[in-house]
Subunit: 762 residues, 2 copies
């Protein structure tokens, strides 16, 4: 009966589905690994705790005490054009513009033991190795590379909490596995605060490393097991000063001594290897303890079958990818699509042991009861499209992410929701309190997987935290004064939007006083509007606008990662008012057109962060987030055809299926989520509302399987190059009026039909 | 009925009992605080986790990278002759000869805020203060002092896990409480590895400090609560380099910012104080987490009644002290006795939260199921008399201490029992594996509070650990060769004794093979006996004795904390064989007499560690442990009268009720336990046997209440100055033959009557 039922079900689905049982091949993890994409090519499972990936260099954060701008290229550890790699570490951010992690670097070597990485121009000077891209393979949950200098093939795969290495030695001889616990991303002299390791038996090592970096007080616990007994092992402490040895001096504690500790350690593990022999290594992580890491190891991979782990992880990926079955014009588009879908399934990451215990921001151990605890909330980026995307496609995970944010709030000494948090730390990066957007968006769209009333309280407490980043001034004056707190216009605009989100949530929950308070605050964007220049403009505490004002410059002008041109369009919650302020619909359209067509002088571009030169169109900066909604503002001014054309232009120019295919940092999937929405034909301009603005789909067709069981088939009649304009949109046969479609309309499923045309339909 | 019963019971007991309901007044915690006693005068409860005591200076461990011998004087933080003190810290060893701890120093000040301790010659240069002993009071669980510079009376008391401070300000004004987290005992530049603190609300601070010292990887968690809201607070990081600030820079994180972190922090807490106002502070410790510290705080002292806490702790002391009710010749003797009893109830210390959770040596959190977990095992010292004393008077605690050692074994990467362990660390200080003595002694004497078979396995594994401190050579050669491993004679002798202990335990458990193996090893002391010189002497790996040999020197001669004269007498388990080797009874007595009468040249004394000049008698070094059994060897050679005289001489000269009253380090109570046994008239020459050697009691009478409910009344007829010789000993009226009394004889209770005389009875 079951088999018959299955056949019937398959027969009843779209023909697309049956073809696409190997969507993994359309994912290219190399996309974004060159230049500023800051993605990593290594192995991971969806939202996995382990991101096991090659690092091509260890670039110091500072040289002679001065910030070293080169470090920025290594936010994800890997730069595609590097000729060598230093090893494989277990934690990586995907697409960030600042960084941390790179924990527990393993590197297999052969021949003389070398404990320093050496330099890229002389790989023989250290344990690193040259490698060739032709000997490298990257796909979901599998990465392999031939290490030329050591003639070792390294293969990587993972489960959620365990990295699995297979090192195949071409030659017989002295095999070493180097464990570099100084190595890390964004490292500097004192980053490794303390390291503790124990050889528990002849093949199991446990330990932890504590770092002071972007995460100020971070501890990564681990358990490492080798597939054959270690012949001999040892470590060296590379700390410049290690005064106190005590009575440990009576031992040779650096060789085959089972307890190792110090601030800057590199260890090695020796094996006699035969030609062609594979040595396998499993590395489990834990945020809790080494005991937690051992438990994760035993629970997730209680065997040595590499292929089984690889297949299990790839099945998880297939499961994620097949939620959207697309037909596209080209293979390249399909790769772009599924790679974007892949990148939008990496972050936030699971941050708890198999038993649900995790380290909170208070550094105490907590139990996640009834939810999966996540970390890495790059909220200034991801509230815009990634979390709305997750709320659409992964509402359960998104609810658990909200619960993780609420746990952060409960455990925070500041009693604030996360701003930018990772690994039991708030790193305070960027501005705003965009957790409230994620929370309100989820609640407004009917996500009931968390306590909305508790969430509102957390939002309100966060938004009333006077000592946070100019917020006291904002509350008192209605804007952040630039003379008191920099990036004041960006902060004012983003606080106002966040406040609107809180108001929407309060309204839904019937909390009238809160609704009124925050609706009032939501209008604060007006307080930085300078009608004289027609831009949002920094204001001083005396009420005057600041005199010195360059509308093209990014730095020191009251903005952050954006200039006045871009940020002046940041009123996602009240575009109609913005249009009025800007002189009405026609003027607004002309203004937007100028944005997309004006030349951006080189000296202004140089000041733009985190993007490549091709990450901009005119003065529109897609590589940074503040403009992500801008192309979708035209419909509010009656010019949806401009959105349709521009969205397709942005997709074409900013997303390519090549290592250098991303025009800017992927930012934990935000850039990819923009692509996913846009290629399907809609975008959440104002998360916190249940509306999406219609654009122009890139897909020929897409079959979306929502977790509620409903399926939405999107089709684009006349899809083709140049045919970017939307003639009609029909939902289940009914013509859609206006430029919006609601969350409920989408998730109810059915057919969403776009009819495209080569010419604008006005 | 109850009251009547009580009266009857009281009426039935010795008249001594009724008088002694305030034994606390006979305890003087100042004893041993001058010179080398290395005791601390502060407040603690029996075996308490918190030892809250004043530290008179912060002496660097090294100056310009070179060990600073001055640091040694501050093993317990306090030196009686110092004119100033720097504050009150919460963890102290009692009587050690190396050190650590001194965690969480608080100091109340008034006036301008000073964050450096300043110097003793200019107390105004820092937060420290001058003080006078006349304004100081020290008694069990209560310490108070007037801080002259700040006109603040500081009072301290404790519960097991919480320190309670009462600071009474004479003057109105700006009150500060300094929290110095750089301060510590045996500090050096890098000792503070990391510190993390959170202001949880207006009066609760939580945090932890991690150190690298004698304990290599140690974390002390705490929770501090103030009796009134903090007006303002802040911290400074005194680390020479603190490169990474990240995005925290957007805040003023040094003032009223609730999350503080860095490697070397000092914080302050400000209060407006009125004249005469008291500010109270409770500081809870935890080895587990800040949440554990908060739970300990709430469970143990959920109120602000200082007097109640003081009284509760003093009641615990009275309970311990009244277990032995003594009559003595002088008030000074009585103070010596109860102070020794006090010092023998300090260590090991509880090391677990109120819920039984503790940090193991693997740095994981474990649950102590069915026992109290202890730490601070100074085993090279304490196996001799302190643990036998605890086994006699506190068998339940001693069993829990054994269980704590077995937990250490289970959790150790080395799979070894503790050598010298504290605070979840093995510090490897001194030699031997004397855990096995403590375990065997407990088991042989019928202590069934632990799994003896598991304990035997742990003992055997420890004793077979070839890579430990010359043990592989010892196993192969029957001795430790001096050319391979220093202090080789001391190690050989102590290993042999330890092996005998293992054999005794194996015999009791019927493990014949183990018994035979370790009985064989127990004879290894013969392998370092040089019949030619008549001394134990270092041997080389080629079998020859080392040529260069100075029998009076302590260093580099194959011994540790003892010279050949003393160590040659170290065969506590087979004194009869030793006597034979040394030429028979008469020759042995003459040899011992020489030891106690020969002059020790100054240049040899200078090489003797850890003792004052008055810590020796002739060449007998009471201030160090290896000779502690030596005065009790005479009876084996038929000269018990020499023991009787010498024991009284040692008591008289080495124990005085004054700050400088101890002739050497009290060593976690070992010196005090020697006193307790000796003053009662017996001593455990060979722990691991159930026999005590009889001496000559100092008490006039003593009523010992054993935990089994039995009472032993010891009396000394004719007790008096000069009447040190024992004429007869009667147990329950029966004349005791020979020089031994068994554990069962003692603990069965009854009457033990010594008849003393001014003349030796041969």
């Amino acid at each position: 009966m079951k088999n018959i039922l299955l056949c019937v079900l398959l027969a009843g689905t779209s023909p697309v589905l049956a073809q696409q049982n190997d969507l993994i091949r359309f994912v290219n993890p190399m996309v974004g690994t060159a230049r500023m994409g800051h993605t990593y090519p290594g192995a991971t499972v969806p939202f996995g705790m382990v991101q096991l990936s090659p690092d091509t260099d260890t670039i110091p954060y500072a040289v002679n005490g001065k910030y070293n701008p080169e470090v920025y290229r290594y936010c994800a550890g890997y730069q595609y054009n590097d000729p060598t790699l230093v090893g494989f570490s277990h934690t990586h951010f995907s697409g960030t513009g600042h960084s941390d992690l790179g924990d527990i670097l393993l590197m297999p070597t052969q021949g003389a033991l070398q404990l320093n990485p050496g330099t890229a121009d002389k790989p023989q000077s250290g344990y690193r190795s040259a490698f060739q891209h032709r000997n490298e393979q990257a796909s979901p949950n599998y990465y392999s590379v031939l290490l030329d200098d050591h003639r070792i093939k390294a293969e990587l795969t993972t489960s959620t909490r365990v990295g699995f290495h297979r090192y195949s030695f071409e030659d017989a001889g002295d095999g070493h596995i180097i464990l570099d616990l100084i190595h890390g991303i964004y490292p500097y002299e004192n980053k490794s605060v303390w390291t503790f390791m124990r050889m528990e038996n002849d093949s199991l090592l446990t330990g932890y490393r504590q770092t002071n970096g972007w995460a100020r007080t971070r501890t990564q616990y681990f358990a490492i097991t080798f597939s054959k007994p270690v012949k001999s092992y040892g470590y060296r402490n590379f700390a410049p000063k290690e005064v106190y040895k005590g009575f440990w001096g009576k031992f040779d504690q650096y060789n085959n001594f089972p307890e190792m500790a110090g601030s800057q350690l590199r260890a090695w593990f020796d094996f006699d290897v035969k030609a062609g022999e594979s040595i396998q290594v499993k590395v489990a992580l834990s945020p809790v303890s080494t005991a937690g890491a051992v438990a994760n190891l035993r629970a997730e991979i209680p065997h040595w079958d590499f292929e089984q782990v690889k297949a299990a992880g790839q099945a998880l990926w297939q499961q994620e990818l097949q939620k959207i079955q697309v037909e596209m014009l080209t293979e390249a588009d399909k790769t772009n699509f599924y790679t974007a879908l892949y990148h939008a399934c990496l972050t936030p990451t699971v941050y708890a042991d198999v038993d649900g215990r995790y380290r909170g921001i208070d550094q105490n151990i907590h139990q996640a009861d009834g939810f999966t605890h996540y970390t890495t909330f790059s909220l200034w980026d991801t509230y815009r499209a990634l979390h709305p995307w997750l709320n659409l496609m992964q509402p359960q995970r998104n609810a658990d992410m909200v619960r993780s944010m609420l746990a952060h709030y409960d455990q925070s000494a500041h009693k604030m929701l996360p701003v930018w948090s990772h690994h039991a730390n708030e790193n305070w990066c960027m501005i705003g309190y965009h957790s409230v957007s994620v929370i309100a968006d989820a609640a407004i769209k009917g996500n009931t997987g968390f306590d909305a009333h508790a969430a509102l309280n957390a939002c309100v407490a966060t938004a009333r935290h006077r000592s946070y980043d100019g917020l006291g001034y904002y509350i008192d004056l209605g804007y952040v004064p630039e003379d008191k707190n920099g990036s004041s216009v960006s902060k004012t605009l983003e606080y106002a939007y966040d406040d609107w989100c809180i108001a929407q949530l309060a309204k839904k929950l019937g909390e009238k006083a809160v609704y009124l308070e925050f609706s009032q605050r939501a209008g604060n964007y007006r307080n930085v509007w300078d009608a004289g220049t027609g831009y949002m403009r920094p204001r001083l505490s005396n009420g005057a606008f600041r005199k010195d004002f360059d509308v093209l410059s990014t730095h020191g002008q009251g903005f952050i990662e954006g200039n006045a041109w871009n940020y002046s369009l940041y009123v996602p919650h009240e575009p109609d008012t913005l249009i009025k302020m800007m002189g009405g619909r026609s003027a607004f359209v002309r203004h937007l057109d100028s944005l997309f067509s004006m030349p951006l002088p080189d000296h202004h571009f140089a000041g733009t962060e985190d993007i490549s030169r091709d990450g901009i169109i005119g003065n529109y900066v897609h590589g940074n987030e503040p403009s992500h909604h801008v192309a979708y503002l035209y419909p509010f001014a009656g010019a949806p055809h401009r959105t349709q054309a521009l969205v397709r232009q942005i997709i074409d120019s900013m997303y390519r299926p090549t290592p250098d295919g991303l025009g800017g940092n992927d930012d934990c999937g935000q850039m990819s989520a923009w692509y996913l929405f846009s290629s399907l034909g809609f975008y959440p301009v104002a998360p916190g509302s249940d509306q999406y603005v219609l654009g122009s789909p890139l897909v020929k067709s897409a079959l979306i399987s929502f977790p509620n069981g409903n399926k939405l088939e999107i089709s684009a009649k006349n899809q083709g190059k140049g045919r970017v304009y939307v003639k009609t949109v029909r939902l289940n046969g009914q013509l859609l009026k206006g430029h919006l479609i609601s969350h409920d309309q989408l998730t109810a499923g059915g057919k969403l039909e776009f009819e495209l045309s080569a010419k604008p339909v006005k």
